[in-house]
C-alpha cells in the first residue's frame, strides 16, 4: 500500500511522517523545511506501507518549486491514499487546499493537527460536523504528543482491508473566490472563536514582532546564540573531550608507538610529530580534530539552531531582517539559507529552494559560499585564535561580515533579474518538544560523523603523505613568493587549498601544525573561508542554478576573496 502525506507548509507533516515511519525524517517549525522529498516504510498492526512526505503547498496551482513538485505527485503519482494534514489554528486557509484535493476525487483522510494550541487560543472546532459536511473522515490530532494517532492507525487498517473509502460528493467551485465563499459557509457552521486573554507565548509573539522591541530582541537572540554555541562548544571541549583524549587515549597510543620499530610505518601512522595539532598523524590529529575540536561545536550549533527552529523564531527573524537585507539586495527570507549555511553548506543550499527568483538564489548562494563559514571551520578558527586576545576573533568575523555586505551590494548591481518580495506566513510560537528536538539533533550529528569525519581523517592522511615525501615542500616553495609577499599567506597554503576544495571544513584544521603567527592565521583563515566552497556544495548549487551561472558565481567569489585577502593583509601589516 502506498500513502502520501500532504498539507500546507508548517502543519506538522514531518512529525506525523516521523511517527508513521518510526522516526526517520527531519521536521521543523518553519515553512519550507521539506523541500526535498522524503519517503519511508511503515508498519501498523501488520499492515506494511510505503509513505511519501510531499512538500508543503498552499495550492495545487502554486508557483514555488516545492508547490509544483507537490502538485505533480498529487495529480499524477501512483498511490492508494492521501493523508492530508490541516492546522486547527487556521482552518480557513487549510480548507482551501483541502477543497482542491477533494475536487480530485481521490481517497483521502483529513487530520487536523495542533488542536491543543488552537483550544488554548480560543478556537473551538466541531469535527463531527466538519466530517458530515466534507463527507470524508476528519481526525483531530496533537502530533507532538501522539494524541489521536491510534484513531489514524485504525483508519489506515480499515482502508487496507476494505480498499474503500467514502469520496466527497460536494460541489467544489473552480475559482478561489468562490471557494472562499464556500469555506466561509463551512467555517460559520463548524468553528467558534471565543475571546481569550493572550497567553505567555502570544505576548512573546507580540513583543518579538513589534519593531520597537523586536529589533533589539533579534540582536540579543543572535548575540546570545553565538555566545551560547561558543560556551557549550568550549565547555564540552575543556571539561570532557580534551581531558578524555589526553588522559586516556594519548597515553595508550604512546605505549603502542613504543612497540612499532619500523620507521616508515611509524612515519605513516604518526607523522613527523605525533602530538595532536602539531603534526599530521592520522591516529592522533586525525581523531583529535573531528572529535575533540569540531564535534562539540557541531553539537552546540545544531542544539541552538534546532531550538530556534522548533519554537518558530526563524520566520520572524527573516521578517525583521527584511528591511535591512533588502537594502543590500537580499530577499528577507534569504537569511534562513544563510543561517543554515553556518552549520553546513549542503543543507544551506538545499534550503535555497524556498527562494523564488533566480536572482535571490544567486545572491544568497554566493554569499553563503563567501561569508558563511560552516561550523567546523568556525570552530577551528575560534580554536586557533583562542590563544590570542578575544578581540582578534571579533575582528576576524567583523571583517568577514563587512565583506559580505559589500559583496551583496555588488551582486545586487551585477546580477540581472528581480528580487522577489517577502511573502511568508509567520507561525505562532510552539514550545519545542524535546523528543523531536533531540531526534533532529541526533540525525544531524550522524550526518556530520558520516560525511565530515572520514574526509577530515583522509585529508590529514593525504597531507601527511605529501609531507613525508617532501612534495608539500616543493609545491610550497614554488608558490611561496607569490603567496607570501602579496597575501601574507604561508607557503604551504597551496596544498591546503587543494584539500580544502574537496572538503572545506578540513582546511583551517590543516593550518594548525604549521605554527603560524597571528597575522598569518587571520589572513589564511579569511582566504580559506572565502576562496572556493567545497566540491560537494558546488555540485549541489550547480543543480540549482545551472553550470554557467555557477561558474560566474565561483569566478566572482574567487576575485572578491583574493582582493579582500590582499586588503586584509595590507591592513594587518600596518597594525600588527
Amino acid at each position: 500500500m502506498r500513502l502520501i502525506l500532504t498539507g500546507n507548509p508548517n502543519v506538522g507533516k514531518s512529525v506525523v511522517f516521523s511517527y508513521l515511519t518510526g522516526y526517520t525524517a527531519i521536521s521543523s517549525n518553519y515553512p519550507g523545511t521539506t523541500v526535498s522529498i522524503l519517503s519511508g516504510k511503515g508498519k501498523i498492526g501488520g499492515v506494511d506501507f510505503d509513505i511519501v512526505d510531499i512538500p508543503g503547498a498552499y495550492s495545487l496551482d502554486g508557483e514555488s518549486v516545492a508547490e509544483k513538485v507537490a502538485s505533480k505527485i498529487i495529480k499524477e503519482g501512483d498511490y492508494d491514499l492521501i493523508i492530508n494534514i490541516m492546522d486547527a489554528n487556521n482552518l480557513e486557509r487549510n480548507l482551501l487546499f483541502a477543497l482542491e484535493l477533494l475536487s480530485l476525487k481521490k481517497p483521502v483522510i483529513f487530520l487536523v493537527n495542533k488542536c491543543d494550541i488552537a483550544r488554548n487560543r480560543g478556537v473551538n472546532i466541531d469535527f463531527e460536523k466538519l466530517e458530515k459536511i466534507l463527507k470524508v473522515r476528519v481526525i483531530p490530532i496533537i502530533a507532538t504528543i501522539g494524541w489521536g494517532f491510534d484513531v489514524l492507525d485504525n483508519e489506515i487498517k480499515k482502508f487496507y482491508v476494505s480498499k474503500k473509502i467514502d469520496l466527497c460528493d460536494l460541489d467544489i467551485p473552480e475559482s478561489n473566490i468562490e471557494k472562499w465563499k464556500l469555506i466561509g459557509d463551512i467555517i460559520s457552521k463548524v468553528q467558534k472563536i471565543e475571546h481569550k486573554h493572550p497567553n505567555f507565548l502570544e505576548k512573546l509573539e507580540l513583543i518579538t514582532t513589534t519593531p520597537k522591541t523586536a529589533i533589539p530582541f533579534a540582536f540579543i537572540v543572535i548575540a546570545f546564540s553565538f555566545y551560547l554555541i561558543r560556551f557549550i562548544g568550549e565547555g564540552l571541549i575543556n571539561t570532557i573531550f580534551d581531558p578524555l583524549f589526553n588522559n586516556y587515549y594519548m597515553p595508550f597510543i604512546e605505549k603502542i608507538m613504543g612497540y612499532i620499530k619500523n620507521d616508515t610505518l611509524k612515519m605513516i601512522l604518526f607523522s613527523k610529530n605525533h602530538i595532536p595539532l602539531e603534526g599530521f598523524s592520522i591516529i592522533t590529529t586525525g581523531l583529535y580534530v573531528p572529535f575533540v575540536v569540531v564535534l562539540p561545536y557541531v553539537f552546540a550549533f545544531y542544539l541552538v539552531l534546532g531550538f530556534l527552529e522548533d519554537i518558530g523564531y526563524l520566520p520572524r527573524l527573516s521578517v525583521i531582517l527584511d528591511k535591512f537585507s533588502h537594502k543590500i539586495g537580499l530577499h528577507g527570507y534569504s537569511s534562513i539559507p544563510l543561517i543554515m549555511g553556518l552549520g553546513c553548506k549542503v543543507p544551506g543550499i538545499f534550503s535555497l529552494r524556498i527562494l523564488e527568483t533566480n536572482k535571490d538564489k544567486i545572491i544568497a548562494g554566493s554569499l553563503m559560499f563567501l561569508v558563511a563559514p560552516c561550523i567546523p571551520q568556525t570552530a577551528m578558527i575560534i580554536s586557533v585564535l583562542s590563544k590570542y586576545d578575544l578581540a582578534y576573533t571579533f575582528i576576524f568575523f567583523a571583517y568577514l561580515f563587512s565583506v559580505g555586505i559589500l559583496a551583496s551590494f555588488l551582486l545586487n548591481k551585477i546580477v540581472k533579474g528581480i528580487s522577489s518580495d517577502l511573502f511568508v506566513e509567520v507561525p505562532p510560537y510552539h514550545i519545542p518538544v524535546l523528543k523531536n528536538m533531540f531526534f533532529k539533533l541526533k540525525l544531524r550529528i550522524f550526518e556530520f560523523l558520516k560525511d565530515a569525519v572520514p574526509a577530515i581523517v583522509g585529508g590529514i592522511f593525504f597531507i601527511n603523505i605529501l609531507d613525508i615525501l617532501n612534495i608539500l615542500e616543493k609545491i610550497s616553495n614554488f608558490f611561496a613568493p607569490f603567496f607570501k609577499n602579496i597575501f601574507l599567506l604561508p607557503p604551504e597554503i597551496s596544498s591546503i587549498m587543494a584539500v580544502g576544495f574537496l572538503k572545506k571544513d578540513v582546511s583551517i584544521t590543516l593550518l594548525t601544525p604549521f605554527n603560524l603567527g597571528l597575522k598569518e592565521i587571520l589572513v589564511s583563515s579569511f582566504f580559506l573561508v572565502t576562496y572556493l566552497p567545497c566540491l560537494a556544495s558546488i555540485l549541489i548549487l550547480r543543480k540549482e542554478i545551472g553550470t554557467l551561472t555557477m561558474s560566474y558565481v565561483l569566478a566572482f567569489n574567487f576575485t572578491i576573496s583574493l582582493f579582500f585577502t590582499f586588503i586584509f593583509s595590507s591592513i594587518l601589516k600596518i597594525f600588527i
Partner: protein
C-alpha cells in the same frame, strides 16, 4: 487618494482590488487576500514589510507587494 496596504492605518481593512498580474492575484488569493476580503493590518516595519492577519494566521508581506494591495478602511 487610494490607500494601499503600505500606507493604510493599522486596523481592519477591506481589499478593494489587487493592482498586479495574474500571478500575484493567484498567490494572494490562495492565502485569502482577494477583492472584498477583510484583513487586519497588525504591524508595519515602516518602509519594510507589513504583517497582516488573514483568517487566523499572520502573514508578512514585503514592501513592493503591499503597495499593490489597494484597500479601504473597514468600518
Amino acid at each position: 487618494m487610494e490607500k494601499n496596504l503600505l500606507n493604510a492605518p493599522i486596523g481592519k481593512l477591506k481589499v478593494k482590488r489587487i493592482s498586479g498580474g495574474e500571478n500575484l492575484f493567484k498567490k494572494l488569493s490562495v492565502m485569502g487576500i482577494y477583492e472584498g476580503s477583510v484583513i487586519e493590518k497588525k504591524i508595519s516595519y515602516g518602509s519594510g514589510p507589513v504583517i497582516v492577519k488573514v483568517g487566523n494566521s499572520d502573514i508578512a508581506i514585503g514592501r513592493g507587494m503591499s503597495a499593490k494591495i489597494i484597500v479601504e478602511e473597514e468600518r
